[in-house]
């Protein structure tokens, strides 16, 4: 394994690991706050129990998220020192702001989790809101930094160095709005729907369990709307990419020839050597329509760009298809669930919907990982689009396969332990009969 590939793999693995916990750290606080609000409004103690239990799970996941985030901030330097040396002064601001947001979240999460007995109800709920808001802000700042990598701005690149640096302009990169909203919705959709799926599973086994029923309702209120909005925002994101990173769009659509009235490829296998995509279902004019709102618009194909500037097409295309397929399914299930809730139907009777929710549970996270593959691998060979190549940014230290394997083993071990602990936590969910819940 080459050093560059080892470095890229380590970074990808660290990011892929961290994002799961980060998303939970964004979504769970909202769920906890909603459960707590319901308890305060209705006096129904089951909601209090819910907030407590959700808090316990969140504590572990937040801790792992925090340490994996620390690792990432170091790995930015350990693996990509040349990138940081040049980009640090330009894009360091959002990282600093993210640090403060994270700090605030950690402080108030400590208050929330351990301060139930020590502060007033209002203060406690306010602390919960503080956690939810700062979690969201963290996501905002970090994604701004990534957006800048895709659409760099706020500097001029002269003789291999950045001059006329303007950190504020850098933060206002045009890629930020779509990327930020897409990610934040992903966090709420994924967290909400995985919790919904877990409790839906509980209801399938114990249909009269009031604990699971209430949990499902709260989780769906967070996850389902987000999942429904997500494809719309994703569409906006893709439109932006079509204009700002045409190579990336061509790769994720496995689109090789530049053409007007370009078809949309569903599925299909891109053959880079031959420069064509096989076995795809083609929807005529689909791509031009989606990307440019004009069925006869010209869409640039990969063949129009030098081969050295192509990302790995198959990976990017496959990841994109996975994301869209699962994301659509999530949106569909969410629509049905929301419709049933709107009609005040008792969800515990709709076993097919419950089964669908169980199936949907992991999809948000799979979609998110796939989406990040699309955007990060799709940006290759650039680390800063059009400015710096990934190969130029990597550390000169050799033998990078060693830290890659060590950290991977560490994270796999951690992941197993966390999964085990969470499983135990869920298995101990209380059995609350409907009649008791008053």
């Amino acid at each position: 394994m080459s050093d560059l590939l080892a470095a890229r793999s380590q970074m990808a693995m660290s990011l892929g690991f961290h994002i799961i916990f980060a998303m939970v750290g964004i979504g769970m606080p909202l769920l906890m706050v909603m459960a707590e609000r319901r308890w305060q409004r209705t006096g129904d103690r089951v909601y209090l129990e819910l907030a407590h239990r959700w808090g316990k799970g969140t504590a572990i996941l937040f801790a792992v998220g925090a340490v994996s985030g620390t690792v990432l901030s170091f790995e930015l330097g350990l693996l990509w020192p040349t990138f940081m040396e040049h980009a640090g002064p330009i894009i360091g601001m959002p990282f600093s702001l993210e640090g403060f947001a994270f700090f605030t979240e950690a402080v108030f999460l400590g208050v929330y989790l351990y301060g139930w007995e020590r502060i007033s109800r209002r203060a406690h709920l306010a602390a919960g809101w503080a956690v939810a808001v700062s979690g969201m802000l963290s996501a905002l700042f970090v994604v701004i930094a990534n957006a800048w990598m895709n659409a760099p701005t706020g500097f001029r690149w002269v003789d291999g160095r950045a001059v006329d640096i303007d950190p504020i302009a850098a933060m206002m990169t045009a890629a930020a709005p779509t990327q930020v909203v897409h990610m934040i919705l992903a966090a709420y959709a994924s967290t909400g729907l995985v919790v919904a799926g877990i409790h839906a599973g509980g209801l399938l086994r114990q249909p009269r369990n009031g604990f699971h029923r209430r949990a499902l309702a709260v989780a769906l209120l967070v996850g389902a709307p987000a999942a429904v909005l997500q494809p719309l925002v994703g569409d906006q994101s893709a439109r932006f990419v079509a204009r700002s990173q045409p190579v990336k769009l061509a790769a994720l659509e496995a689109h090789f020839p530049t053409q007007r009235g370009a078809p949309l490829h569903i599925g299909g296998w891109p053959d880079e050597a031959a420069g064509e995509t096989r076995w795809a279902i083609e929807i005529p004019y689909g791509l031009s329509l989606l990307a440019f709102e004009d069925p006869h618009a010209e869409v640039k194909g990969l063949l129009d760009f030098p081969r050295g500037d192509w990302p790995p097409v198959a990976i990017v295309h496959l990841a994109f298809q996975v994301m869209v397929a699962l994301g659509s399914f999530m949106a569909l299930v969410s629509l049905v669930a929301l419709w049933q809730m709107w009609r005040r139907r008792d969800l515990t009777r709709h076993r097919w919907l419950l089964r669908a929710l169980v199936l949907t549970a992991p999809m948000g996270f799979i979609c998110t990982e796939a989406g990040w593959v699309v955007t990060e691998v799709g940006r290759q060979p650039w680390i800063i689009q059009g400015v710096m190549r990934t190969a130029q940014a990597v550390t000169p230290m050799p033998g990078l396969v060693v830290p890659f394997l060590v950290f991977t083993a560490l994270y796999v071990g951690l992941g197993l332990v966390v999964a085990w602990l969470l499983y135990q936590q869920v298995a101990r969910s209380p059995k609350v009969a409907e009649e008791d819940a008053a």
């Binding site: 316990k56 504590a59 572990i60 937040f62 801790a63 792992v64 925090a66 340490v67 994996s68 985030g69 620390t70 690792v71 901030s73 170091f74 930015l76 330097g77 350990l78 020192p81 040349t82 940081m84 040396e85 040049h86 640090g88 002064p89 360091g92 601001m93 990282f95 600093s96 702001l97 640090g99 403060f100 994270f102 700090f103 605030t104 950690a106 402080v107 108030f108 400590g110 208050v111 989790l113 351990y114 301060g115 020590r118 502060i119 640096i165 303007d166 950190p167 504020i168 550390t395 000169p396 230290m397 050799p398 033998g399 830290p403 060590v406 950290f407 560490l410 951690l414 332990v417 602990l421």
Partner: protein, 340 residues
């Protein structure tokens, strides 16, 4: 900005360092009150350790934003000890969290739950010992001026560039000093935290022992610096303000020991914190104006002015959010301790 980094580093040492030190005492816990000692440590660290993390992240972020070439240099040459330190931080954080999940108060004092809890406790404690040593090794390497630009000295080789600069007797002595300092801090803090007089006595004894070891190791490190890396040794002993700094550090140390002896624990905590702060600042002063001797000074390595100004504003704004939050957190959880 360099001052801000120093401040953040100091905060990390004073607060996060105590967390690590707590882990040391957890590992070394012995005697009839072993379990209560561990419980006290867990209770003291519990709500705040994750927040303490942030100081380290602030140091890293400020470095790469304001002094990017320094960040790059450190990240390249100190890759190995930094990576090892990271592993320690990950293990420590997760182990603590997992153990709390099983720990006292969750009804699992015996049986498989307790064994697992004990296992994670050992992981937590071991990582708490290893990480401060690595932190100190990195500091020592910076101070020793051993971190040159890779490839600058013509010949290289993996060991010469990526191992030799930090794996030195001087570096190891600084690592050991860091460990003992953290343990000392933790023991002193715990005397204030403890509510049970017997526990308080336990930690008082440990703090006094640690203070003695600190003296020994500090002089050892100083001696090694004079022998191995004369510029550092000279900077520490004859640089600007060095004498004043040594006198005040010594005074703080003596004050801490005296306060411990006469059981004035809050005063001891203040004095110990002052002593450690002065040691950190002494190091910084000894190598001023270099951030990475021998060739990266504060001025040379600084990012463009606009970045520095904006970060300064961000720090101010962040501080306005951060400090009240931290005060609130401490007030919520330390309210009960109204001891002498």
């Amino acid at each position: 900005m360099a001052g801000a980094i120093l401040a953040a580093l100091t905060a990390y040492v004073l607060l996060g360092g105590a967390d690590f030190g707590g882990g040391v005492w957890d590992l070394l816990a012995f005697g009839p009150r072993k379990r209560q000692q561990r419980a006290l440590i867990a209770e003291a660290i519990g709500p705040i350790w994750e927040a303490n993390h942030v100081w380290l992240i602030i140091v890293v972020v400020l470095l790469f934003t304001c002094f990017p070439s320094v960040f790059a240099r450190l990240a390249i040459t100190l890759h190995i000890p930094l990576a090892l330190m990271l592993i320690g931080i990950v293990l420590r954080g997760s182990a603590f969290s997992f153990r709390s999940h099983y720990g006292p108060g969750h009804g699992e004092e015996t049986g498989p739950g307790a064994r697992t809890s004990a296992h994670w406790g050992r992981v937590f404690a071991s990582a708490s010992v290893g990480t401060p040593v690595l932190l100190g090794i990195c500091a020592g390497a910076v101070a020793a001026g051993a971190l040159r630009a890779p490839g600058a000295s013509g010949s290289g080789g993996f060991v010469a560039t990526f191992v030799a600069p930090w794996l030195t007797p001087f570096g190891l002595s600084v690592g050991l000093l860091t460990l003992v300092l953290f343990a000392f801090l933790a023991a002193v803090y715990l005397t204030v935290e403890a509510r049970d007089p017997a526990l308080r006595e336990d930690f008082r004894r440990r703090a006094l022992v640690a203070a003695g070891v600190v003296f020994l190791v500090a002089f050892g490190a100083l001696g090694l610096s004079l022998r191995e890396v004369p510029p550092v040794g000279r900077g520490l002993t004859t640089g600007p303000g060095a004498v004043a700094l040594h006198v005040s550090t010594g005074a703080a140390a003596l004050a801490a020991i005296a306060a411990l002896w006469w059981r004035r624990f809050r005063l001891a905590r203040l004095a110990a914190a002052a002593q450690v702060t002065l040691i950190v600042w002494g190091w910084a002063l000894a190598q001023y104006p270099y951030l990475v001797p021998p060739d990266l000074t504060i001025r040379d390595a600084a990012a463009p002015r606009i970045t520095l100004v904006l970060i300064l504003w961000a720090l101010v704004a962040g501080g306005l959010v951060l400090f009240p939050s931290l005060v609130y957190l401490l007030r919520v959880f330390k309210r009960e301790h109204a001891g002498p």
